[in-house]
């Protein structure tokens, strides 16, 4: 079964700090790597996504770093805010319809 391994399972960061969540994949056919953000009581929503033709993508305080040779990608949240407290899922997809999701990271940003 194709897998995406996500770590850590939970993360506590001080307000203003940097939150870093890591994911690793096995299937070299994956060519699309999104991150989803989920607040309590809501469905996940796309936060940012990257394709392997670039090594980094930045949108505001959120950055994806992608290392194709290591088969790893990570989400960096700069200047973390209490409003960023949520569960984050990485995922990977290929030419098929499916996404394979990581198990999620619960981020808590404390004042």
């Amino acid at each position: 079964q194709q897998q995406v391994k996500q770590s850590p399972q939970s993360l506590i960061v001080q307000k203003g700090g940097i939150s870093i969540i890591n994911c690793a994949y096995e299937n070299t056919a994956f060519d699309y790597f999104p991150w989803y953000q989920q607040f309590p009581g809501k469905g996940p929503a796309l936060l940012i996504a990257i394709r392997p033709d670039v090594s980094e993508k930045k949108e505001g305080r959120f950055t994806i770093s992608f290392n194709k040779s290591a088969k790893q990608f990570s989400l960096h949240i700069m200047d973390s805010q209490p409003g960023d407290s949520a569960t984050y899922f990485c995922a990977a997809g290929s030419g098929s319809y499916q996404l394979t999701f990581g198990k999620g990271t619960k981020l808590s940003v404390i004042p």
């Binding site: 060519d31 809501k42 796309l46």
Partner: protein, 114 residues
């Protein structure tokens, strides 16, 4: 704005009951998905449909079936609910074309089977 709605936010059923979970999207998306979300296990794909009347098994289809008679509606059916099907169920839809592009999720249905 993109919208995916699910028929119930919370549902309580008894073991052995037949359960229907409904999902409707208003974006004319061809692809629709059903996931279940459990703590520590992330999102696991149950079934997906790439077009009307088309369906494909996901990673954990056992104990579930689906129906897609109209483009905007995708139903998940638990033929005989069991306690191990207590979970959060998420529906998603995806725009046609592209490569694994954005999936838009509904708010989820929390199902409890007693």
């Amino acid at each position: 704005d993109v919208k995916v709605t699910q028929s119930s936010r919370y549902l309580v059923k008894r073991t052995g009951e037949k359960v229907f979970l409904e999902c409707v999207q208003d974006m004319d998306h061809e692809n629709m998905f059903w996931y279940r979300q459990d703590p520590g296990l992330g999102l696991r794909l149950i079934y997906f449909s790439y077009d009307v009347k088309m369906k494909e098994k996901g990673d954990i289809p056992e104990g579930y079936s689906v129906s897609r008679e109209k483009k905007e509606r995708f139903s998940l059916i638990l033929e005989s609910a069991s306690t191990n099907q207590t979970s959060m169920y998420l529906c998603a839809s995806r725009a046609p074309g592209g490569r694994s592009d954005t999936q838009y999720f509904g708010p989820g249905t929390r199902l409890t089977v007693l």
